[in-house]
């Protein structure tokens, strides 16, 4: 029993963090926003060189063969640096779906090596979202198609979809309504085979969003702490006032008690535990709430400065706000939790001794 990360995992995370710190400073992100596509091919290339796109591709296909637990760390970095790129769709969710196909399946062989070398983008369409992120740049779209007996998996080339852009309040998001027609050519898995794959994808996506939310919360806390230490009013740093201290202390506490939930959910997904969905929903709720709290407290600490476009805080707040409802809003995840804990006919296994059972 050792509920923490290995030194290697931490070292890899730290390397990624240092990489983003220099390659994805806020002013660089603002430049990316202003481009038409809203994405930087150069940044994506460098990310691939760091090994991030290879992270969860099986070793047989040239990847690093890591998984959910490593992503629980990586997604926090994606959030902390507000990386304007739905990287995890290509590098985490898509490999998860593709690696669920039989060994030697043509799609695996075709796409997984390209995920590793960073030469493709894969977008993911799931009914829980009204949009598909980064569909305009996708080489392939993996689309869910709910049917009576489950949920089919379709692999749709970019040329076979029509897109309508859906502008988001978060300028770093590029969202699209996707019109497409499922047919036998695009179908990869039938409803029965696809359902568990899509269920796992939803859980991974919730974990990914949760991790980003915690990263965002930590960044907003850091920004607000720096501001509180420097900004003076009434002749002293505002960080010396108890009201400001307590705002920020609340954020610290909420983050501290959300992170381990994220890690436990990642472990549950990695092990395919039966209650992995419950843990993923818990992680999403706890992490998104921490980010929401951090945004509220950080803007309050920043005062009017926090309400401006120029000050970086807004980039992280908007991302935190919109991720709150991505891949299942609060109602969705609460409903999953409630169904399992409160509505299931027999009392689930809860209470002392059940957390790692």
């Amino acid at each position: 029993m050792d509920f923490t990360f290995t030194e290697d995992q931490i070292a890899f995370r730290d390397a990624v963090s240092r990489f983003f710190m220099t390659e994805a400073a806020p002013e660089q992100l603002r430049e990316v926003w202003e481009t038409g596509a809203g994405r930087s091919a150069a940044l994506r290339k460098k990310i691939a060189e760091q090994g991030l796109t290879a992270l969860s591709v099986p070793e047989a296909e040239g990847g690093l063969g890591m998984g959910d637990i490593d992503w629980a760390l990586m997604t926090q970095e994606l959030g902390y640096y507000a990386i304007p790129d739905s990287l995890a769709d290509t590098a985490y969710l898509a490999p998860g779906l593709l690696a669920g196909l039989p060994a030697g399946h043509a799609l695996r062989a075709q796409w997984l090596p390209r995920v590793v070398d960073g030469s493709c983008r894969i977008a993911i369409g799931h009914p829980v979202n009204p949009w598909v992120a980064d569909a305009h740049l996708a080489d392939l779209l993996l689309m869910a198609h709910p049917v009576a007996d489950g949920c089919e998996l379709h692999a749709v080339p970019r040329a076979k979809v029509e897109l309508t852009v859906l502008p988001s309040i978060d300028a770093s998001r590029r969202l699209f309504e996707v019109r497409w027609h499922p047919d036998t050519e695009t179908r990869v898995l039938d409803g029965v085979a696809g359902a568990p794959q899509w269920a796992a994808t939803l859980d991974r996506a919730a974990l990914n969003v949760g991790g980003q939310a915690i990263g965002l919360a930590q960044r907003m806390l850091d920004l607000a702490t720096d501001y509180a230490a420097q900004r003076k009013q009434f002749g002293k740093p505002i960080g010396s006032f108890q009201a400001i201290k307590h705002h920020l202390a609340d954020v610290v506490t909420e983050i501290e008690f959300a992170r381990p939930v994220l890690y436990r959910a990642a472990a549950a997904l990695a092990a395919g535990e039966p209650d992995a969905s419950v843990r993923a929903s818990h992680a999403k709720l706890a992490c998104a709430a921490a980010a929401w709290t951090a945004a509220r407290k950080a803007i309050q600490v920043h005062g009017a400065m926090g309400y401006t476009w120029e000050v970086d805080l807004q980039m992280f707040m908007k991302r935190a706000w919109v991720l709150d409802a991505a891949w299942g809003d609060r109602a969705f995840h609460r409903a999953r939790l409630g169904a399992a804990l409160l509505d299931a006919e027999t009392l689930p296994s809860i209470g002392p001794g059940t957390t790692f059972a």
Partner: protein, 384 residues
């Protein structure tokens, strides 16, 4: 306790309702944070003024109709019920005007108030400075007396409307040896004066919601000073009370939001059913808007009986700003994943309102400052 409107009040309501139904813009105006939108709003308020609806509680000779505060509440109810535009000149109408009426000379009143009511003059506010936000007494912008005028140097910031307004009211340090809230003077400054530079500040929503204003040897006539020299803090505080208190945020605004939220819930009842907190949040929105309305009517009744608004205006500021934030957060949660899509017609106003609501607990005196005021002035707890 008499909870019926007088026949005159009822008639006034009917008149306002009919007039707005005939005259209020049928399509939303552009944002007044754009030049075009500002002009549209100005024109609309000039039309209001033409029919005596711009500043109904002012004396007739100054451009109002001498109406009482109940009439004002009634007017606001009809105005918000009609989905009429946000008011672009509220700085002048609600912040400056009460100050001028109390402290201004007869000449100042006659010169500025009718023009303000008609929106011939549009006002920016000049309170905050880069190092004088919550701590407003740290003002360093100077207005040094030189014969019959002051020479202004320094900088104001977070000045709403400054980009397109033609006048600013604000506080300047007229005694360079003074500190804190001593030695300040309350001045009216034409924004087209030589030496003034206005630099827009982009807000969260990407629009230029306020501006920095720089003063370099700007000459302002002593006739533009309101109140005595060095008494500016005292003069301004009356205005600050209005800003926090009853007048800046009329209850009808929040009742309209609460009603829209109830409608939103009713449209999305199916999705919301998964999450009991949403239902409760909508109920709390209605309860909050109703409480704010009732509190306003209660305050107006006490004012009519001769009471004065004191530190209670701080409870008001906290209540409406948190209510507004809560209501908009609830709307975001009800809208779910669609809440980020700014072009979605059901989303747009909620999303803009959500961003704007973020500023509520910060501006007009941060809620931390308001809580200090409540504890120190209403409860008598010692200053730090």
């Amino acid at each position: 306790m008499d909870l019926t409107y007088t026949p005159e009040q009822q008639a006034f309501r009917a008149e306002v309702r009919a007039w707005l139904a005939a005259h209020a813009p049928r399509t939303p105006l552009q944002s007044y944070d754009t030049r075009e939108g500002f002009e549209q709003h100005r024109a609309w308020e000039a039309e209001l003024a033409e029919h005596g609806y711009s500043a109904i509680t002012w004396p007739k000779e100054l451009g109002g109709r001498g109406a009482g505060l109940i009439d004002w509440l009634v007017f606001e109810e009809e105005y918000w019920a009609a989905d009429a535009p946000l008011r672009v000149n509220q700085n002048g109408l609600l912040l400056l005007a009460p100050t001028l009426m109390e402290f201004g000379t007869a000449e100042q009143k006659a010169r500025f108030l009718p023009r303000t009511a008609r929106c011939d003059d549009m006002w920016a506010q000049g309170w905050s400075e880069p190092n004088a936000g919550s701590d407003m007494a740290s003002i360093t912008s100077r207005a040094i007396r030189d014969g019959d005028h002051y020479v202004l140097n320094g900088q104001k910031t977070w000045s709403t409307r400054a980009l397109f307004a033609n006048w600013m009211f604000g506080l300047f340090r007229s005694d360079p040896e003074s500190s804190r809230h001593h030695g300040l003077s309350y001045l009216l400054v034409p924004l087209d004066a030589e030496g003034i530079t206005v630099r827009p500040i982009k807000a969260l929503n990407g629009k230029f919601a306020f501006a920095e204003v720089f003063f370099k040897d700007v000459h302002v006539s002593v006739e533009n000073r309101v109140g005595e020299e060095g008494q500016g803090w005292h003069v301004a505080m009356a205005t600050a009370g209005f800003e926090r208190g009853l007048l800046l945020r009329s209850p009808a605004r929040y009742q309209r939001t609460a009603k829209r939220l109830v409608e939103l819930y009713r449209r999305h009842r199916g999705e919301a059913a998964h999450d009991g907190t949403l239902r409760d949040a909508v109920l709390r929105a209605w309860m909050g808007a109703e409480a704010y309305t009732l509190s306003s009517y209660h305050t107006v009744a006490r004012l009519q009986h001769g009471a004065k608004i004191g530190a209670e205006s701080s409870t008001n500021k906290i209540f409406w700003s948190e209510l507004d934030l809560d209501m908009h957060e609830t709307a975001m949660h009800l809208l779910g994943a669609r809440a980020e899509l700014i072009d979605d017609p059901e989303v747009h106003e909620w999303l803009e309102g959500f961003l704007f609501a973020q500023a509520g607990p910060i501006y007009a005196g941060s809620n931390e400052i308001q809580r200090n005021i409540i504890a120190e002035r209403m409860l008598g707890l010692p200053k730090n």
